[in-house]
C-alpha cells in the first residue's frame, strides 16, 4: 500500500471519534441554528422564514449593542488583568525559593471547585454595600462603591470573579514554566540581570504560546459567560452586566426569539473567529512543530 494512503487511513481512524461527534453533535446543530437565524422561531411553533431581518434588527437593538459593549469591556479590561495576574501568580508559585508551594497552589484551585450557585451567592454577599470588600477598603480609608448595584462598578466585580477563577490557567502556566531551562536564569543572573529583567527577557517570551492558549480560552470564556451573570445580577443594574451570551440566552429561552438568538450566535462566531485569527497571526502560532 502506498505510504501516504496508509497514513491517511490511519489518521482518519484516529480522528474518527471527533469526526462523528462533529457531524452529529456540532455540524447538524450549527446548520440548524444557521437556518433558524433566518427565521422567526418560537420553538413551540414551527420556524417562519424571514430572511435577514434578525441580523438587521441586531444593529438597532440597544440591548444588543449594550451586550456587545459589555463583552468588549471585559475583553479589554478583564482579559489582560486576569492574564497578568495569572502569569504573575504562576511565576511566584514556580519560584524555587518558595517553600510550602503545595498549599499555595491548592489555594488558587479551590475557587473552581465551588458549585456555581454557591459561588454566585458568595459574590453577592461579598460585594454588598456593607460587605467584606467595602469593609476592607474602609480600613484603607476608601469608601467602597455599591459594586453590583452600581452601573460603573458592577463589571469590575465580575472582573474580580474572573481573577478568582484563574485556577485552570495557573496549572497550565506552571507547566509551561517548568519547561524553561533553569540554566537560562543562571546565565542571566551571572550577567547581572535582575528579577524583572529576567522575567521580561526569558520567562515571558518562552511562555508566549502558553499565554496565547490561555488568552484564547479566556476570550472564548468571556463570550460564552452566562451562568454567573444570570444568577448574580440578571444583567443589571440597567444593562451594565448584560453579557453577550446572557442576552442570547434570554432571547432564546425567555423571549421566544430563538431565531434572533441564533443570529446573535452566528455574529458571535464571526467576531470571535476574527479576534482569534488575529491573535494567532500576532503570536505566529498554529503551525505544527514537526
Amino acid at each position: 500500500m502506498d505510504y501516504r494512503k496508509k497514513d491517511i487511513r490511519n489518521a482518519l481512524l484516529f480522528i474518527s471519534p471527533w469526526i462523528i461527534g462533529f457531524l452529529v453533535f456540532t455540524l447538524y446543530p450549527i446548520l440548524s441554528s444557521l437556518y433558524y437565524s433566518f427565521c422567526e422561531y418560537k420553538v413551540i411553533k414551527a420556524p417562519v422564514f424571514i430572511g435577514l431581518r434578525n441580523y438587521i434588527n441586531l444593529f438597532g437593538d440597544k440591548s444588543y449593542l449594550a451586550a456587545l459593549g459589555n463583552t468588549v469591556y471585559m475583553l479589554i479590561f478583564g482579559v489582560p488583568v486576569t492574564t497578568v495576574t495569572a502569569v504573575a501568580v504562576s511565576i511566584l508559585l514556580n519560584n524555587k525559593h518558595l517553600h510550602h508551594a503545595g498549599i499555595f497552589k491548592v489555594v488558587f484551585f479551590i475557587p473552581t471547585l465551588v458549585p456555581t450557585i454557591v459561588a454566585c451567592f458568595l459574590w453577592i454577599w461579598m460585594f454588598q454595600s456593607g460587605g467584606i470588600v467595602n469593609t476592607v477598603l474602609g480600613y484603607f480609608g476608601i469608601s467602597g462603591p455599591a459594586w453590583l448595584s452600581s452601573i460603573t462598578y458592577a463589571k469590575p466585580a465580575f472582573i474580580f470573579y474572573m481573577i478568582w477563577t484563574i485556577g485552570n490557567a495557573v496549572i497550565i502556566y506552571l507547566a509551561g514554566l517548568q519547561d524553561i531551562d533553569p540554566n537560562l536564569y543562571e546565565a542571566a543572573e551571572i550577567d547581572g540581570a535582575g528579577f524583572i529583567r529576567q522575567t521580561m527577557s526569558i520567562t515571558i517570551p518562552l511562555l508566549r504560546s502558553t499565554i496565547l492558549y490561555n488568552m484564547v480560552t479566556l476570550i472564548i470564556g468571556v463570550f460564552q459567560w452566562f451562568a454567573e451573570p444570570l444568577i448574580i445580577t440578571e444583567g443589571g443594574p440597567g444593562n451594565a452586566t448584560l453579557f453577550y451570551s446572557l442576552y442570547l440566552y434570554q432571547n432564546a429561552f425567555r423571549f421566544f426569539k430563538m431565531g434572533y438568538a441564533c443570529a446573535m450566535g452566528w455574529v458571535l462566531l464571526v467576531i470571535s473567529l476574527a479576534i482569534i485569527l488575529v491573535l494567532f497571526k500576532v503570536f505566529k502560532f498554529g503551525e505544527a512543530e514537526n
Binding site: E40, K42, V43, I44, K45, K62, S63, F121, I124, W125, Q128, S129, G130, A146, L148, S149, S150, I151, E234, G235, G236, P237, G238, N239, Q250, A252, F253, R254, F255, F256
Partner: protein
Amino acid sequence: MKLRRIAALVLAGMTVTNLAACSSGSAKSGTTVTEAAAETTKTETAAETTASENSAAGVFAGVEKEETDLSGELIYWSAFTGGSGEWDQSRVDLFNKMYADKGIHVTRQQIEGAGIKNGALMSAVASGTNAPDLIISDAPIDVYSFAVEGAFMAVDDLLPKVGIDPGSFFDGLDDLIKVDGKTYLIPQDANVHLLYYNKKLVREAGLDPEAPPTTIEELNSWAEALSIPDGNGGFKQLGLIPWIGDGGDTSGDAFHIPFVFGTNVYDPAANKLNLTEDKMIKYFEWIKGYSEKYSPTIQEWGTSAGGVFDPSCPFYTEKVAMYFCGNWMANAIKLTVGDAIEWGVTAVPSPDYGRAKATTLGANPFAIVEGSSNAELAAFFIKFCISPAIQEDNFAQWRSIPCSDSAFDGVSLTKNGDAMYALEREIANNPENGVPAMCSVSTELADQFQKARQEIIFNGADITSTLQALQDRMQSALDSAN
C-alpha cells in the same frame, strides 16, 4: 497504585464524617407526610431554629377524599424550591396516598422555573415528547407568554367537569389567567402588595403608627420625616426607597407601583402599549424625586443578597423605615429577624389620580400543557391542590389569599379575626385590581422596563425619551409577534 489507595481512604473518611453529621440528631429524611404527621410550625424563634424547620412539610387536616372515576399517571413540573418545594412535595405525596386505590399517581419533578427558564418546557412541547401534563410556576409573567403561544390548554370547559368554576376567581386576576377571553391558567393562591412600616421609627419621628399614610402626599411627608441626615451629606436613616422590594427588585415587580399610580400599560383590545402616558411620567418623576432628594445614600442602599429573607435587608437593619412588599413578608420577618422589628402594614398609598387601596394581584398559576393525555385528571389534581384544607397551612403561614372571596371564610386567619388578613381581603376585592402588562412579550417588556427604570434612577436618563424608545421597541415586537 499507592496513591489511589490513599485517595480512596481519604474519600472514605469524608463520607464517614458526612454520614456522622447526617445520622446524629433527629434527621428525618424523606418521610412522607400524612394528615396528622408533621407538627404545626411553631412560630417561636428559639436560638437554634433554622428557617428550614419553620417551612417544613405542611399540615393537612381535614382533607376529604372525593369520589372519582378518573385514573392514570401525571407528570407534574413544579417551580417551587426550598421550603415551598417540600410543601408541594408533601401534598403530592398525600394525593398519591389518598387516591392510590384508584390507580392514580402523580410524579412531581422539581425543575428550574417549571422548565421555563431552562428551555426544557419549550423543547418538550416542541418535540411533543417528555412534556409534563401540568406545571406550576411562581413567575406568572413567564407563564403567560407560554399561554399566548399556545403551549397550554384552555380550561373553561374542563374545570367545571371537576367542580371548579372559572368565573369564581377574582376579576382582578383575569388579566393573568385569560388570553382572548379564554382561561388558560388556574391560580393557586394570590398575593397582594402592601406597604410595611417600622412602628418604632415612626413613633420616634413623631408620627402616629396607627394612622399610616393613605395618599402619596402623606407618604412623601412620612418619608421625609423618617429620613434622618447624618451630617455628612448623606443619611443614616431613610424613610422609603421606592424602587426596591416590590417596588422593583425583580422584573416580576416591574409594574406594581405604576399600577397604583393609575397607569394602563397594555390595552389588549388594541394590542397597544402605553408607557408614555401622563401618569407613568408622573410616577417616574416621583421616583426621580426620591432619587435626587435622598442621594447619595438612597442609591447605595439599593440591594441586599436575598431580599426580604436576608437579615441585611435595610428594613430589618432599621435603616429604612418603610418598605413595599407582599403579604409574605410578614412571615419573612418572623423567620429572619423574629420579633426584632415592630411593624405595621397598610395598603399602598396612591395619588388621587391613581387606584386607591388597590394592588396588582400576584398568583402562582397552574397550567395544563397542550397535548396532555390526562387533562381531566390534571384538573382534578389541581382542584385538590387549591382546596381550602390543603391551602390552609399555606395561608396561615404566608398569608397568601385564596383566589375567590367566598373561600376566605374557611381560612383560619379570617375566622380568628386577623386584622391584617381582613385588610388583605378588602384590598383583594377591589374591582380596580388587575395584573398589568400581560401580553405576548410580557417577559421582555418587564425586563426592559426594569432596566429603563434603573437607567433613569442611576444614570440620569431622560424620562420621556427613554420610555418612548422602550415603547416603540416593544410595540414593534408586539406587532411582529402577531
